[in-house]
């Protein structure tokens, strides 16, 4: 009994409540943006083509939210976590905010200062920022495979750039790299989500009627 590891118990509970595959599907949706938007940038420009994809993301995120509320929550249940976990999630938000701001500023500076065609700096810096973000997500959300996703994207960015230089792919390899990554990540997410959706609903109403009498 002395071996009840409460820290591990809390971690397992948190993962049980959050690792439902929906995060993977959100990441896959974002990765798909980098695969598709380059095809539009020739006509719309980088900014407007990215903006044009936002409605697509909103629809996907809306569907995932509906899936979470109607299908995942009734099967997984709801838990409110304590101060330790809330603090951890707050730190995660701050880290993501800082990394995103640094990446945006660095990207803007690079676009102005080094506007002389593609270099290895772009894909490396972009991949590195993704790796940092995914590492933070893996650490703070306690979903280790997110670190693998980060490695996949930084490796893919460099491979895509090399293939682009060899003339084998277009758009710096983004459609190939991010498209295949999105499919892979979405597959993992769907498998995880599927394992949860196979669980029987507790009742037709989605709650335990017996407990209303406790």
């Amino acid at each position: 009994m002395s071996n009840i590891d409460l820290v591990e118990a809390e971690r397992r509970s948190f993962r049980s409540a959050t690792d439902t595959g929906l995060w993977d599907l959100r990441v896959a949706a974002l990765a798909s943006m980098f695969a598709i938007v380059p095809f539009w940038s020739a006509t719309l420009g980088d900014f407007w083509s990215a903006l044009a994809y936002v409605p697509v993301l909103l629809v996907v995120f809306g569907v995932l939210r509906w899936v979470r509320e109607r299908h995942v929550r009734p099967r997984v249940g709801v838990a409110r976590f304590g101060a330790y976990r809330r603090g951890r999630l707050r730190r995660f938000t701050v880290v993501m905010l800082v990394v995103n701001v640094i990446a945006l500023v660095a990207g803007a500076v690079a676009a102005v200062r080094f506007d002389s065609g593609p270099t290895w700096l772009y894909p490396f810096a972009f991949g590195l920022s993704l790796l940092v973000m995914f590492s933070a997500a893996a650490y703070y959300l306690e979903i280790p495979r997110f670190f693998v996703y980060g490695l996949l994207l930084i490796g893919g960015s460099l491979v895509g750039e090399e293939l682009f230089r060899q003339g084998q792919v277009t758009h710096h390899g983004y459609p190939v790299v991010f498209g295949s990554s999105a499919v892979l990540i979405a597959t993992v997410g769907l498998i995880r989500l599927g394992s949860i959706l196979r669980r029987a609903l507790p009742s037709a109403a989605g709650h335990a009627p017996e407990l209303d009498d406790v």
């Binding site: 002395s2 009840i4 109403a205």
Partner: protein
């Protein structure tokens, strides 16, 4: 001299809380100890108990004043959130300490 030595080798287990000591209730209390609150679906999934078992054991924990059930709604659906009370948290801490002590004092 430890209690086990004083009682000729068998430690007294009187101070082990029988409400928490049941394996099913211990699972529930551990799960509730590491979260602020959870609903029954979460507890069924985490503890592996059936709905009926969970309901029965929660009733006993509630009678002992260790858990409270806050009935509410999530949208239009009823959702009862279950949490440990302060005495419940204290009882679990004490139970852990007592069990560790009991295990230490078990004769070889």
């Amino acid at each position: 001299m430890s209690e086990a030595e004083a009682t000729g080798g068998s430690p007294s287990l009187d101070w082990i809380d029988p409400v928490i000591h049941s394996p099913a209730r211990l699972k529930i209390v551990v799960e509730l100890y590491v979260v602020d609150a959870a609903d029954a679906t979460f507890l069924v999934h985490r503890t592996g108990l059936t709905w009926g078992n969970l309901s029965t054991h929660l009733g006993k924990l509630e009678d002992a004043g260790y858990v409270k059930v806050d009935k509410g709604y999530d949208g239009k659906k009823p959702r009862s959130l279950i949490s440990l009370t302060d005495p419940g948290r204290e009882a679990f801490k004490e139970y852990r300490a007592n069990m560790q002590r009991a295990l230490r004092e078990l004769p070889d």
